[in-house]
Symmetry: C2
Subunit: 208 residues, 2 copies
């Protein structure tokens, strides 16, 4: 299905990669294990053998990328916070850039779309899984935002971070109307995306 499969990778990895692509394209319900295993070039029964069930596969698809993303975001935040003067833009960059980079070198540009779908699906168990594997990162960033925006009440801050998250998810998952023009390289386009996001989000957070 247009998704190249690295035949040297392990069966588990090939399933995860194919699943990520297919979940992004057709959703968790819409992607069947038969399509998925065919794209991965593995036997149908391999999913249940290696992951136990389709639901557990979904969780592992998230876990693989979220572990990467969380680590990079926290590393970036730590480096930013250690500077003598930290700006709001710095913190936003620490939050945004790893996500955009994941699209690039993680091979999982599709993961952000999968993540966006997970937000859209109000499935409780999936939300709990995301909260368990994502919450501590959000809390650290929230603390840093609170330090840089002392004039905001806690409730106001939560609201704005929520709205920033919406804008980021929307942009990063390629929902929107903005498409990369053919005369702009992938790298350049991503850099422009980061800049637009940071400028917009910083202004929104600083709103009087």
């Amino acid at each position: 299905m247009g998704v190249p499969v690295n035949s040297s990778a392990s069966t588990k990895e090939r399933i995860l990669t194919a699943a990520e692509a297919l979940f992004a394209q057709r959703g968790f319900e819409g992607a069947s294990l038969r399509q998925l295993t065919a794209a991965a070039g593995v036997n149908l029964a391999a999913v249940n053998y290696h992951f136990g069930s389709k639901d557990h596969l979904v969780e592992q698809v998230f876990k693989r990328r979220l572990d990467q993303l969380n680590a990079r975001r926290l590393a970036a935040l730590k480096q930013v916070a250690s500077q003598s003067e930290t700006t709001l833009e710095d913190v936003l960059a620490a939050f945004i850039r790893p996500a955009l980079d994941l699209s690039h070198d993680g091979g999982g540009g599709l993961f952000m779309r999968v993540l966006a779908r997970a937000f859209a699906e109000h499935d409780d168990s999936l939300r709990k899984f995301l909260s368990d594997n994502y919450g501590h990162v959000m809390r650290q960033f929230t603390a840093e935002f609170a330090r840089l925006l002392p004039q905001l009440s806690k409730e106001e801050l939560y609201w704005r971070i929520d709205l920033v998250t919406g804008a980021l998810t929307h942009a990063m998952s390629g929902f929107g109307i903005i498409q990369r023009k053919s005369d702009v390289s992938e790298v350049t386009h991503r850099e422009q995306t980061v800049e637009h996001l940071i400028r917009f989000a910083a202004a929104g957070l600083r709103a009087p």
Copy 2:
């Protein structure tokens, strides 16, 4: 399934109402016609009789609410634009408030979640349907934003409107962490949501 069915309504209307709720809750693929018709209290075959197919039903669920939403947004925009001095906040209110109101008196607070799901699903035919039934409203608002933000290039403006849309969709569909507190009335909470959205979006749009 907890969704009260007005037994005096027509079969078509009852299907549409039950479908909206179930699509919001379980997604387009996840909601089956059997669950749907059971919730609506109608026969399974009624969907294909009245709508032709499940896909056409999905479209009609959108069309019923979008027609309302579009009409209210355009009316609000027209009224705002006729004033001698139009502010960015006014235009944003014309865009946001009808959507929030729809949650209230349209009985379709769930519709925004359905709409958010539609954004998440990258289904081409559904996106085309949305573009056909939604595009002209976005164009009118974009023109008004362009008038009020002449310093922005066309590309920059598109970017920011896209990010605003992301924030709005996120907030309106109840994705986020913000939940209504029990000591705040539904009406008050909605009003607060509008205010937060407008303040954040206006600042983002005005970003230097």
